[in-house]
């Protein structure tokens, strides 16, 4: 219609105005796009700069670090990494951390799955209060539980074991898992359960064979969050351990040697704590967008 030749002067003017508008809008959206990229780039720079600085220091010798500011390593060295990978008090920190994080993920997800199913499908006495009580545990400051945990786990003989930390982190991780999973499960229509039961599936078989595959992305996202909160927590983890199950975080706080803080080793150890996180994000990157809303968009 608009491509046909105009017949009246008025129509000519109108068409010209339209074309003009379109052109202007195109250039405006192009500048907007560039501004957008610029802002995004600036933010990414802000995120990366401190991490770059850590990385930079981890490749410098301590003399270079203290000698003056250098924007990139002048004499590139792996000595700090070599130290971490050969000294058992260092690398055991990583193994300990990963051990209790994995344990916690397994415990949390296996008890949270049935519980979340119950919350998403059934009404029962006290369900709302129970759910709120669960969430309150997520809100409990770890500092509050510091001393009683220490005494509790000391009494039951679990002090300085991976299990102690894994169980302690259940305090906030189980409620979180239930909360996220409940959101994902509620978006699965109930008719699926009913059909399966009519078809003669028993509850456990239905749950494992049909239901869990249906919410697999939700489970992936939940595991991501469980990893995240267990991996980053240090206050409880360092209080409940001394030497046998010490997490890397508390190993790092003890780098003060005779000659002051070993900055290079600190930087290298810090860099290595970032890597597992990046790996985990990489695995769930396609689900993260949906999962971060905890199944509730």
């Amino acid at each position: 219609m608009s491509d046909s030749l105009p017949t009246t002067p008025d129509a000519v003017r109108k068409q010209a105005a339209l074309a003009n508008n379109r052109r202007r809008r195109k250039t405006r959206s192009a500048t907007r796009q560039w501004r957008r990229r610029g802002l995004m780039g600036a933010y990414i720079l802000f995120v990366l700069l401190p991490i770059y600085w850590l990385l930079n220091m981890s490749f410098q010798s301590n003399n270079e670090i203290l000698g003056g500011l250098t924007l990139w390593p002048q004499d590139f060295t792996f000595e700090h990494y070599a130290k971490i990978f050969t000294d058992s008090s260092w690398y055991m920190g990583y193994i300990n951390s990963i051990a209790y994080v994995v344990m916690n993920m397994l415990i949390s997800i296996s008890v949270a799955l049935p519980a979340a199913y119950a919350f998403s499908r059934y009404k029962f006495i006290g369900d709302k209060h129970l759910f709120f009580w669960l969430l309150t545990n997520m809100m409990a400051p770890p500092a509050v539980f510091l001393l009683p945990y220490f005494q509790l786990y000391y009494t039951v003989g679990l002090f300085d074991t991976h299990v102690a930390v894994a169980l302690a982190h259940c305090l906030f991780n189980i409620p979180l898992a239930v909360w996220i999973l409940e959101g994902f499960m509620s978006s699965v229509p109930k008719e699926i359960d009913e059909t399966a039961f009519v078809d003669g599936y028993s509850f456990p078989r239905f749950f494992v064979k049909i239901f869990i595959p249906m919410i697999s992305s939700g489970i992936g996202v939940t595991l991501f969050f469980l990893f995240m909160f267990s991996w980053v927590e240090l206050l409880l983890a360092s209080t409940l351990t001394s030497t046998g199950a010490q997490p890397i975080g508390s190993v790092m706080t003890q780098t003060k040697g005779a000659s002051g803080i070993d900055w290079g080793a600190l930087a290298a150890a810090g860099t290595l704590t970032i890597l597992p996180g990046i790996m985990v994000v990489y695995f769930v990157r396609n689900h993260i967008a949906k999962g971060f809303a905890l199944g509730r968009t």
């Binding site: 995120v47 401190p50 309150t136 509050v144 239930v178 706080t253 900055w263 993260i288």
Partner: protein, 293 residues
């Protein structure tokens, strides 16, 4: 979803309940126990009633810590929420850039909290840190160990760096759930960029934003490791927040009674604020369900 009334659901909950009860109720009862007693040693203890609570509620240093804590949480929320929304709006939506940006933005969230403190300590030191050194070169005597203003600004900047990604990712996932048809309709209506944000994007974001604000409030209110590593609570006690006061009292000074009373007050404040948020979320979901059906 209309749920079936069935009390056998308790069986599904039971394993979780036992586990959480073990790690929540027993310790909490220990705290309650300590908070009403004066413990000398394993065998000598006196019942003190509400004395510790009165003492804690009248302690000026705790009032100061509480005020600092609220100020910190509010400042941090006021910066992170708008910034997070802004970043979510400009994040690329498809292609390899989307994955790359997603991974980069998420990174700070997955760094152990004390390492975050260390990173910023290295970054802001006046002699060896890029930021501290640069600011000094520009002629400002930046020093977080002697100037409370610098210490506060640095801690807030660190928290923005650390936690804005959470809000951004929550909003990003909220934005992703908006069907394209909405945007097409807006284009047909010639809606302005602001109108699209105000009437299409923001309503979709309220849900995730409430979750985000709740999580951010909670975590900012119990912040411990990052300022502890970065400033150690100093200079003086200008950046000592509640968790740190509590840990000093409980572990450093071994004041079991007062610290237990303090714990309970602390916990109750968080509970109160979160209960307000929780009822807001529940009401919103109810409204949505009624509106939808």
């Amino acid at each position: 979803m209309n749920k079936v009334y069935n009390n056998r659901a308790w069986w599904l909950i039971l394993p979780m309940l036992l586990l959480v009860a073990f790690s929540a109720i027993i310790p909490l009862m220990t705290v309650v126990n300590y908070s009403v007693q004066d413990v000398f040693d394993a065998h000598t203890r006196f019942f003190t009633g509400t004395e510790w609570f009165k003492e804690m509620l009248n302690d000026p240093s705790l009032h100061a810590a509480l005020l600092r804590q609220f100020a910190f949480s509010l400042i941090v929320l006021a910066i992170q929420v708008p910034l997070g929304i802004g970043i979510a709006l400009i994040m690329p939506k498809s292609g390899w850039q989307a994955s790359a940006v997603l991974i980069l933005v998420t990174m700070p969230l997955l760094i152990p909290w004390n390492v975050v403190g260390s990173i910023w300590q290295l970054f802001t030191r006046g002699d060896i840190g890029l930021m501290g050194w640069s600011i000094r070169e520009l002629g400002y005597g930046y020093n977080i160990t002697s100037s409370p203003v610098d210490a506060w600004a640095t801690i807030i900047l660190m928290d923005v760096w650390h936690w804005t990604p959470l809000i951004a990712l929550l909003c990003y996932s909220g934005l992703r759930s908006i069907p394209d048809a909405y945007y097409q309709a807006a284009r047909i209506d010639r809606a302005s960029r602001w109108a699209v944000f105000r009437y299409i994007q923001l309503p979709k974001l309220t849900n995730v934003l409430v979750i985000g604000v709740l999580l951010r409030f909670m975590h900012s209110f119990m912040i411990y490791a990052e300022p502890f590593v970065l400033t150690g609570g100093g200079p003086g006690s200008s950046t000592t927040f509640l968790s740190q006061s509590l840990v000093t009292m409980a572990v450093g000074q071994q004041d079991l009674g007062p610290s237990a009373a303090f714990s309970l007050i602390y916990f109750l404040i968080i509970l109160l604020v979160c209960w307000v948020f929780y009822t807001a979320i529940m009401n919103m979901q109810k409204d949505k369900n009624q509106g939808g059906v």
